[in-house]
């Protein structure tokens, strides 16, 4: 006997059209199993109706909001909404660029200079000229969020320059952590894809992957991927995004981005 499972949910909901309801009821007349299930399903549906919502923690989403503010700070809001005169925005932009240059001067000498590591090739080069990554850099570094942001801005980004309150961050250069077993390049990329691919079947992170780093993030063994993202149509990349995934289970640890 074929049981009309697909109709039973809507039958319990009371949402079946008359014809289908008649089909189900004829089946129920002769099927003890389905009669039992309908009774159970009704009881469960009724029980769930009394389940109340629980208040969400107040700071839920705060990290993402902070990331959004960092991103938006270097993507000017539409003029119609800014409410600020043009000169004000230009003054802000000029101050930002000056700050970016200062931060770049502070950060770039440290890039890739962790103990025992060769300086990272190509980091100071224009983003557009960077080749796709083909290997994993093992770094003896324990990154924090500020360190990841500094990594993003080291590619010429302005993240530090606009709107960030953290003036002291730079790419961390010393840590006691050891990277442990080396992760093959393909496995590292697969891990980043898995962590940052949202709907099943869709492609992984957008942009050109120019650097893969094996290190730690807040003590957790991690893979950091640096992606250059352009507007398309052959235009040079204008966004640097750093995605950080746990190398233990490929879960998301953090992400940040900066404009070039």
């Amino acid at each position: 006997m074929r049981h009309p499972d697909e109709l039973l949910a809507e039958y319990v909901d009371g949402a079946l059209a008359e014809g289908e309801r008649a089909v189900v009821e004829r089946h129920l007349d002769s099927c003890e199993r389905c009669r039992g299930e309908v009774a159970l399903a009704r009881a469960a549906r009724e029980a769930l109706a009394s389940v109340a919502e629980i208040p969400a923690p107040g700071d839920l989403g705060a990290a993402a909001i902070a990331g959004a503010r960092r991103r938006a700070a270097h993507e000017p809001a539409p003029a119609s909404r800014s409410g600020q005169p043009g000169w004000y925005r230009w003054a802000g932009a000029a101050a930002g660029i000056a700050a970016a240059l200062l931060v770049a001067a502070l950060v770039l000498p440290h890039v890739g200079s962790s103990p025992g590591e060769e300086p990272a090739a190509g980091v100071a080069a224009p983003s557009a000229a960077l080749p796709e990554a083909t290997s994993v850099e093992a770094q003896n570094v324990d990154y924090d969020l500020a360190g990841v942001e500094a990594l993003a801005t080291s590619y010429g980004g302005q993240d530090r320059a606009f709107g960030s309150n953290n003036q002291s961050s730079q790419i961390p250069v010393a840590a006691e952590a050891t990277p442990g077993q080396r992760i093959p390049f393909a496995a590292a990329v697969a891990c980043l894809d898995r962590a940052f691919t949202v709907p099943a079947g869709q492609r992984g992170p957008e942009g050109k992957l120019v650097r893969v780093i094996q290190a730690r993030f807040r003590g957790t063994p991690a893979i950091l991927g640096v992606y250059l993202i352009g507007p398309g149509a052959g235009q040079p990349a204008d966004i640097v995004r750093v995605l950080v995934a746990s190398s233990e289970d490929c879960s998301i640890l953090t992400s940040t981005q900066a404009t070039t």
């Binding site: 499972d5 697909e6 199993r33 809001a77 539409p78 953090t254």
Partner: protein, 198 residues
């Protein structure tokens, strides 16, 4: 009073550089995302972690949101995937194979082991019993009966045929009743039905 701004409009504003729009999106959906995570994962700390991951993923992926689905559908999909990711992480613990269910696919054996085995014999409240419902059924059930989402929309969230959604919801309800200790006088095994694809 102006009607509330649509999610898709907030997305558009954020992509044009307005961070307040993203904050409004988070505030608007925070409660729903957290409760969805809570009912899927069954643990407040895991739910908070998965919800945080959800909003970070939304931020990361928002440029890929093409508007061909409603934002809420897309965001629910991101949320469910964040829960699946965290659930996989937790699944390193030993699992309890459901009695009388030898044919259940491996992917459906996601329900966490109950904290106290003796509870299996007693009557639970619905929230506690939900943890014992196989994960794929539980997700569909939570979306349908706790989040009042239409089957068609759930099908889009889960990227499965609508018939599969209806079947999962029904079997989820039956499993929940069983986990709550509710019985009928016709105690035939509830999980034998095949999951028909439409």
């Amino acid at each position: 009073m102006d009607p509330p701004e649509r999610d898709e409009e907030l997305v558009r504003r954020f992509l044009r550089g307005d961070a307040d729009a993203f904050e409004r999106l988070v505030e608007r959906h925070r409660q729903r995302v957290y409760n969805l995570c809570l009912r899927i994962l069954g643990d407040p700390e895991d739910a908070a972690d998965a919800a945080q991951d959800t909003f970070l993923s939304v931020l990361t992926k928002l440029r890929q949101f093409r508007g061909d689905a409603a934002f809420t559908t897309w965001m629910h999909r991101v949320t469910v995937n964040a829960c699946y990711d965290l659930s996989r992480k937790r699944r390193r613990q030993p699992m309890l194979r459901l009695a009388g269910d030898p044919d259940l696919p491996e992917a459906e054996l996601g329900s966490p082991v109950p904290d106290h085995a003796e509870e299996l014999a007693g009557t639970h409240d619905a929230v506690a019993a939900l943890k014992e419902v196989p994960e794929e059924f539980r997700v569909a059930l939570v979306l349908a009966d706790l989040h009042d989402m239409a089957y068609e929309q759930i099908a889009k969230v889960l990227d499965v045929p609508i018939g599969t959604v209806k079947s999962r919801v029904h079997r989820g309800r039956v499993a929940l009743a069983g986990a709550m200790g509710i019985t009928t006088r016709e105690p035939e095994a509830p999980f034998r039905a095949s999951e028909d694809q439409s």
